[in-house]
């Protein structure tokens, strides 16, 4: 105990220096930190703790991606394909219908079944086929690999479109990640949640559809309501002549009447198609449909062949700008639904940071004073260790770029209180040994070695709790467990090694006969 190997001393000092150096960016002012970021090489301390959205303000949105709709679409495409192929092969059928993640074909004649099976295999080998006992009903279901592929594709498409939209908004450091099977989490610092929801939540699926007849709709048509007057409905053809992905560009502008409109330009294929369709349908109306709502249904006055046009729908300037942005970024492959939202305004974030700082400093001051009153000189040594501990926590959090949340600050404050526990255990033990009649040095020695088992026990139990909280926790629980876990590790180091070093140095210098504790 009285001796500490030289290399250990260096190691302890090195860790302390790491702690102070790498936590320092958190304490310097904005300008100095800017200088550090620019002038220092990467391995030098320049990172600060990454503040969570609850501290810096911003929006956290969890969206559920409607995958069922995607599979319905796919099944529909298969069904159309099969119908066409059956017709071509002149095979008599009763019906071709979509079922959950698959298609069911009912044939007139069981003899055709083998032929149809071959045909389906040619279309897509990833369909699992089965025939009922009568031999006339064939069921084709998408297999696991196909389902997984479609899911992954859809989610990455969603993420891509959302990223494009958010990038256009000009925000920095957005987090857009898949969560679980069918969810996407979006975190944007500094964003207003309403603005973000308007931007992300809209599918923005645009289509130009020919309008069907009045009255009862045909099977090839759907009845849609107008965006501005939901009670008014109109029958339009199911199939769009122009879809959103045929747009080359969309910009807000004004028409000759001074109304805000969205001007668009079609790509070459779109322009050709639009030209030929409009030529054939002069005098008839066509509907501009956005997300299953009719924006307007103008009458085609003449063939439109330049590939350019305007969408007017009683927008205000901001709506026109928003819609242009959405059309440029492209449509989402399917609908998104908010299932969780947590947004914090900048004022609450700033208040929480200030409150957290204040509470930590005052809590620390309380503990420092209390330890000095309780243990005198040894209390001071424990206090040095405590300060090292806090520097280490901040240094590690900065290096790992872990996110510090408000419950995380609570975790730090709590470890401040608990960090002294190891030293309390040792000091109390030293007192007992002195009372038991041992000499100064041997009391200190025995105090350290006997308290050790208990210290390990108590730290390990809390560490176990922290690790499990981290792995099962979400949100506030996770933020709290990170700082708690890091805090336990650093407090173990600082309380055992740092105070021990100080005690040894003190013994060497004063060669004490009694222990002032």
């Amino acid at each position: 105990m009285i001796q500490i190997a030289r290399w250990k001393i260096f190691l302890i000092l090195a860790v302390c220096i790491y702690g102070f150096a790498y936590s320092s960016p958190n304490f310097v002012g904005g300008q100095t930190h800017q200088w550090m970021k620019e002038a220092l090489p990467d391995w030098m301390p320049k990172k600060t703790v990454n503040l969570g959205l609850d501290l810096r303000g911003g929006a956290h949105l969890l969206y559920e991606v409607d995958l069922d709709a995607v599979f319905e679409d796919r099944a529909e495409v298969f069904a159309e394909d099969f119908k066409k192929s059956l017709k071509e092969a002149k095979i008599a059928k009763q019906s071709v219908s979509t079922i959950k993640r698959g298609v069911r074909i009912v044939l007139d004649n069981a003899d055709d079944a083998q032929e149809v099976k071959k045909m389906i295999r040619r279309t897509d080998p990833r369909l699992i086929l089965s025939i009922d006992t009568l031999g006339t009903t064939i069921t084709a279901l998408m297999d696991e690999a196909y389902i997984t592929q479609v899911q992954d594709q859809t989610i990455s498409q969603v993420i891509e479109v959302v990223r494009r939209r958010i990038d256009m908004m000009g925000t920095t450091e957005p987090v857009i990640q898949r969560q679980g099977l069918n969810r996407v989490v979006i975190q944007v610092p500094g964003a207003d949640s309403k603005q973000l929801r308007d931007l992300v939540g809209q599918t923005a699926k645009l289509g130009f559809h020919l309008v069907g007849g009045e009255g009862k709709r045909k099977i090839s048509e759907v009845s849609l309501s107008y965006a501005d007057t939901p009670m008014r409905k109109i029958n339009v053809k199911r199939h769009a002549i122009i879809a959103g992905d045929m747009l080359d560009d969309a910009q807000p502008s004004f028409n000759q009447n001074g109304q805000a409109v969205v001007s668009f330009r079609l790509n070459a294929a779109g322009a050709r198609k639009f030209c030929s369709v409009t030529r054939k349908n002069v005098g008839k109306p066509f509907a501009i449909v956005l997300d299953n709502k009719v924006i307007s249904a103008p009458v085609i006055n003449e063939a439109i062949c330049g590939g350019q046009g305007q969408i007017s729908g009683g927008f205000d300037v901001q709506e026109a700008a928003e819609l242009s942005l959405l059309l440029r970024a492209g449509a989402l492959p399917t609908d998104l639904k908010v299932v969780e939202e947590r947004s914090v305004g900048p004022s609450l974030g700033a208040d929480s940071v200030a409150a957290g700082k204040m509470a930590s400093l005052i809590g620390l001051a309380f503990v420092l004073v209390f330890m000095f009153v309780g243990y005198g000189l040894f209390g001071l040594m424990a206090n040095v260790a405590l300060v090292v501990n806090i520097a280490l926590i901040l240094a590690i959090l900065s290096s790992l770029q872990a996110t510090l949340t408000l419950p995380g600050i609570a975790g730090i404050v709590l470890t401040v209180g608990m960090a002294v526990d190891a030293n309390v255990l040792i000091f109390e033990r030293i007192r007992e040994e002195i009372a038991g009649g041992r000499s100064a040095l041997s009391s200190i020695d025995a105090g350290y070695s006997r308290a050790m088992a208990t210290i390990i026990d108590s730290n390990l139990t809390t560490l176990i709790a922290a690790i499990i909280l981290f792995s099962f926790g979400t949100g506030p629980i996770k933020g709290f467990s990170v700082t708690l876990g890091v805090g336990i590790l650093t407090s173990f180091f600082s309380a055992i090694f740092v105070t021990r070093l100080l005690v040894v140095l003190w013994i060497k210098k004063t060669n004490p006969k009694t222990v002032p504790i």
Partner: protein, 327 residues
């Protein structure tokens, strides 16, 4: 210079804690049964983390008339909306129940909960006649996510208890483990009872606080038990009751010092840490006080009841687990 610390507990402190065990048991049994009773009867005030729903925190430009706002918002037909003051007079916390899709809802329509949030925002903006209302926080949790968070929270509790239990089982004789778990359950149940009694919001942070309390309670108990085990080997002849008393008294100073420092830090957090984490810190403060009580008055007396074995053989579980030996 003589920098000696002040002793809060005298060296020769010898309080007959174990002798008071009947009073302590009576108190603890009433506490635990009362907590269970009040939890069953009143139920927990589950927050939106678990029930789903929306919470909006606003700072108003002028001192608000809460009654008037309550009337206006409840006229919106969004279910029962509650408004309460949050920390200071111009901070309000507004809770909306989860909204269901109406019968004529169709694909492409906006999500009803989003619509509700917008509606409330517009109504509030109107109520303050164009003066800026600061929307400090908006939290919406869908019913399905709420259900998932409930399950995850439950898992977190179960697995951390199992983890702690496994550790205790490795380090101590089984009697110690059982006594420690009884003390821990005592603390956790009492804390849950407090939440039911005060009808404070029980949310994800509360779960974190409960687990923290469990960790702290075990921590405190382990320190006392370590000493009991050490003394069991040291004094082979002393009556168990006396030996337990010695152990509790020997560790009393540490128990109080650590609890006090932790409480000091928490009181600072409670006072200056802001309204958002106040409930969380409140739970911790209560838990640490009850945890300190239980490590002295519950854990050791229960262990005494369990007829703990004396003088463990050299190859006891501590050595097997590879943990450092206490001389």
């Amino acid at each position: 210079m003589n920098m000696r610390g002040i002793r809060f507990v005298p060296q020769d402190c010898n309080v007959n804690f174990i002798g008071m065990r009947m009073f302590a048991f009576a108190f603890s049994i009433i506490l635990v049964l009362g907590s269970i009773g009040v939890t069953v009867q009143r139920g927990l005030n589950l927050g939106i983390d678990f029930t789903g729903g929306t919470v909006i925190e606003i700072r108003t430009p002028v001192i608000p008339n809460i009654e008037a706002l309550r009337t206006i918002l409840n006229d919106l037909d969004l279910g029962s909306i509650s408004i309460q003051e949050f920390g200071q007079i111009d901070d309000l916390l507004i809770r909306l129940p989860a909204q269901k899709k109406s019968a004529d809802w169709q694909k492409g329509d906006e999500e009803p909960n989003e619509v509700a949030i917008e509606l409330v925002r517009e109504t509030l903006d109107e109520a303050f006649e164009g003066q800026t209302v600061d929307y400090r926080r908006i939290e919406y949790v869908g019913p399905q996510v709420g259900e998932e968070l409930k399950i995850k929270g439950l898992y977190a509790i179960i697995f951390s208890l199992l983890g702690i239990l496994t550790y205790i089982w490795f380090r101590f004789e089984w009697q110690f483990g059982v006594a420690a778990i009884i003390a821990l359950g005592h603390d956790a149940i009492a804390t849950i009872g407090l939440f039911a009694l005060m009808q404070m919001e029980f949310n994800l942070s509360t779960v974190a606080a409960l687990l923290m309390i469990a960790g702290y309670s075990i921590n405190d108990t382990v320190v006392v038990f370590d000493r009991v085990r050490e003394n069991l080997r040291k004094y082979k002849k002393k009556p168990l009751l006396e030996l337990f008393n010695i152990s509790v008294n020997q560790t009393l100073s540490r128990t109080l010092m650590t609890s006090l420092t932790t409480l000091l830090a928490l009181v600072a957090l409670y006072t200056f840490g802001g309204e958002v984490i106040r409930g969380f810190v409140y739970a911790l403060i209560f838990g640490i006080i009850i945890g300190t009580y239980s490590s002295v008055f519950v854990a050791s007396p229960v262990l005494l009841l369990m007829n703990v074995r004396r003088g463990a053989p050299p190859s006891d579980k501590a050595a097997e687990a590879g943990a450092p030996e206490v001389i």
